[in-house]
């Protein structure tokens, strides 16, 4: 993990938002910053944040493993998060998931609680289930990167994936 001067400056700015004896408060902003930059937070990312804030690495690891939104594994070029909370589940999100995997060539058979992300063989797409994405009336919904898509039925999957290349 190579941290650019720009990233370093940005991190310092975030840390500056908090009183000096409460640097720890900048943990989450820094983790988000790393994830935006590198797509995920690896082992060295955890160490970097801990060093930056004067924490023990376990303090940061606790956060990274607690939040499903923080990824410990590098995703594909486009990362898809399919909502599986009640409304979307009833609207058929599991069929949507299966369809996306089929079209994108992703094998989810190895997915576990501790390793929730599956990646297509060509590395173009990666996918995981997410909890409520806050659009219960328009399920099934999903996020591709930061783009939000509603009504993603299995039929709509092909057209959706074509937008990403």
């Amino acid at each position: 993990m190579e941290v650019s001067a720009e990233l370093e400056a940005k991190a310092d700015e975030y840390i500056g938002h908090y009183p000096d004896d409460q640097r720890r408060s900048a943990s989450l902003p820094l983790l988000h910053l790393l994830q935006q930059e590198f797509g995920h937070i690896g082992e060295d990312g955890v160490r970097w944040v801990a060093d930056k804030l004067g924490l023990e690495p376990i303090n940061v690891l606790e956060l990274v493993t607690f939040y499903p939104g923080l990824r410990q594994k590098a995703p594909g070029k486009y990362h898809i998060r399919v909502c599986r909370t009640l409304s979307c589940a009833m609207a058929g999100c599991h069929e949507t998931m299966d369809k996306i995997c089929q079209v994108a060539g992703i094998d989810r058979s190895g997915v576990t609680h501790h390793d929730p992300i599956a990646i297509s063989e060509d590395g173009k797409f990666s996918i995981e289930f997410a909890e409520c994405l806050a659009s219960c009336g328009t399920g099934p919904v999903c996020l591709v990167g930061d783009d939000f898509h509603e009504g993603v039925t299995p039929e709509a999957v092909g057209e959706l994936l074509e937008k990403y290349d």
Binding site: P57, N59, T65, H113
Partner: protein
């Protein structure tokens, strides 16, 4: 807090008075109503996360304007009970509060919490080290449902994880009480433990870069209410219910941490700290805790030895005493010296002193043992009884006479030497110097080069194999108790010294160690009015020193801040 106001609290129908600010759980304890708990520990902060200490609570309702509060038959305002329970560990009492620790609501709460805790807990008590001293086991019997309604598969978690050089973790047994996390963070400032992941996958762990390796890590095993954290040293060695626990003190340094020695059939299996708020709080260092293994060593001397050509041959005790006494008496009146040890008890030191007095020894001193303190409990003085030696042997500067003794041996003025429990080759003496002696008698626990050079070798007893007393760095007089017998024919050192005294002065001496102490109390002013039985389990303050215990100072600070009960 004694000066402050007290409040009236009703616990299970009985009114008691407790200081304002007392935690509900402590008030219940004072009323002899023990509230079950996992996460609560008086020496640590109370996160209130285990929910086991839920109790029913009530307060007197505020009377309507112009109305007087309704009183019960004891004259206390009647209590309006709350429909929901509260945790007793993190809430404090208030005037007129009522607590029910045995009501149907309280019992139902405990049953529910136990059921949740047992959902994913493995049923491996028969092979679990904690069995027999496990609160999960105990509370299951006392407060559990007795049967499980859980039909699903238990969550699998990491087992037998090495989280530090001395600690092994079983995550499936962990109840996530966080006592260990708080101990390492709050007491020893080594915040390396944490919970990763979430929900039913939540596990205790360390970051691979930072294992739990501090010198106090084994305390986490003690405070773990279940069998999650186990000691590499003790696990699978002995079932706890077979062990006898003897109150004693650690002799690893001048702190004198209070301990329990767990032994069975003459063998020591573990040492755990015993709470003493004037010495070690509830903790002890790993080094001291594990520092008993030499007692089980193969190098232990088990019979008196006499020099025979190049080697030694065993002889019986009367013969050994006779030879030692004769050999020393030959150089009566300035021709001999005594090197005692700061690891000896007061009683042994006193008998060494009388022996030296009778023989007119040129000098008596101890060997200094300086190391480093750690700012918590470990003391820089590695002798457990320097303060006692100062008082008993009237030493102004312990260790300062060794040079003169060495010189005396070299110039031939000192011809005989009695060495008690010290290997002089590690204390600045050379083999050549000791070979200059006409007569060398020494007592030891383990075979060592000084023993090898001795004409008579007397096998001694280790700290857990004898009774006696010591004075720690803060001037507290504390007692050693005998947990196991010394190996073979080895004897308690005070008996050996007593026999040497008898052989030299021809008197009967005293009968028991308590009598030795009594005689010492008459002759050494610092011990005036004391007796061995008066010392008690927690020791007594004997000598005023300026020493403070850094760990206790910080604990007192946290008590003042209201963070912990203490």
């Amino acid at each position: 807090m004694s000066e402050e106001a007290t409040v009236n609290v009703q616990v299970d129908g009985t009114w008691i008075q407790v200081p304002k600010g007392t935690r509900m759980i402590e008030a219940c304890k004072q009323a002899a109503a023990e509230v079950p708990h996992y996460c609560y520990h008086p020496k640590l902060t109370s996160p209130g996360n285990c929910r086991m200490c839920l109790v029913e609570m009530g307060m007197p309702p505020r009377p309507a304007p112009g109305e007087e509060p309704e009183l019960d038959k004891d004259g206390h305002a009647k209590i309006g009970w709350m429909p929901r329970p509260v945790i007793a560990c993190a809430n404090t009492v208030a005037e007129g509060m009522g607590i029910r620790t045995d009501s149907p609501l309280t019992r139902e709460c405990r049953e529910g919490v136990m059921e949740f805790l047992l959902i994913n807990h493995p049923l491996d008590c028969p092979i679990c080290d904690q069995a027999g001293e496990c609160t999960l086991q105990e509370y299951s019997v006392e407060h559990g449902k007795g049967e499980s309604r859980f039909l699903e598969n238990k969550v699998k978690k990491p087992k037998s994880v090495e989280i530090g050089p001395r600690i092994r973790l079983d995550d499936e047994r962990c109840v996530l009480c966080s006592r260990c996390v708080r101990f390492t963070r709050e007491v020893v400032d080594d915040d390396v433990l944490g919970f990763v992941d979430r929900g039913s996958h939540n596990v205790l762990t360390v970051h691979p870069d930072r294992p739990l390796a501090n010198n106090y890590s084994l305390n986490t095993v003690d405070i773990c209410p279940v069998g999650a954290l186990t000691s590499e040293d003790f696990r699978f060695q002995m079932r706890v219910w077979f062990m006898r626990e003897t109150e004693s003190i650690c002799t690893g340094c001048a702190r004198g941490c209070n301990t329990l020695i767990g032994s069975r059939e003459g063998k020591i299996y573990r040492q755990t700290p015993r709470e003493n708020n004037d010495v070690n709080s509830a903790w002890m260092c790993d080094e001291g805790r594990l520092g008993f293994h030499y007692l089980n060593s193969d190098a232990r001397l088990t019979e008196p030895l006499v020099k025979d050509g190049a080697g030694h041959r065993p002889i019986d005790w009367p013969e050994a005493i006779r030879r030692a006494a004769e050999g020393l008496a030959k150089y009566r009146g300035g021709g001999l010296a005594v090197v005692a040890s700061g690891r000896m008890t007061n009683e042994e030191l006193y008998l060494a002193r009388t022996l030296a007095e009778t023989l007119g020894a040129a000098a008596v001193d101890i060997v200094k043992r300086e190391g480093e303190g750690d700012g918590y409990l470990v003391h820089a003085d590695k002798n457990p009884n320097t303060a006692g030696a100062r008082a008993v042997l009237k030493l102004r500067s312990p260790g300062s006479k060794l040079k003169a003794i060495k010189k005396g041996i070299e110039d031939g003025s000192i011809k005989a030497l009695l060495v008690l429990g010290e290997n002089l080759l590690k204390a600045g003496f050379e083999e050549g110097t000791l070979k200059n002696l006409k007569f060398l008698v020494s007592s030891h626990l383990l075979a060592n080069p000084t023993a090898k050079l001795s004409h008579v070798v007397l096998p001694g007893a280790g700290f857990a194999e004898k009774r006696g007393s010591m004075v720690n760095a803060t001037g507290r007089l504390q007692r050693l108790n005998k947990a196991v017998e010394p190996p073979g024919d080895a004897r308690e050192d005070w008996e050996t010294l007593q026999d040497l005294n008898r052989a030299v002065d021809g008197l009967d001496g005293v009968g028991e160690i308590a009598d030795v102490f009594a005689e010492m109390a008459e002759r050494v002013s610092a011990f005036k009015g004391m007796s061995l039985s008066k010392i008690g389990g927690g020791g007594v303050h004997l000598i005023d020193t300026d020493e403070r215990v850094p760990l206790l100072e910080r604990e007192a600070e946290r008590v003042r801040e209201g963070l912990i009960v203490g």
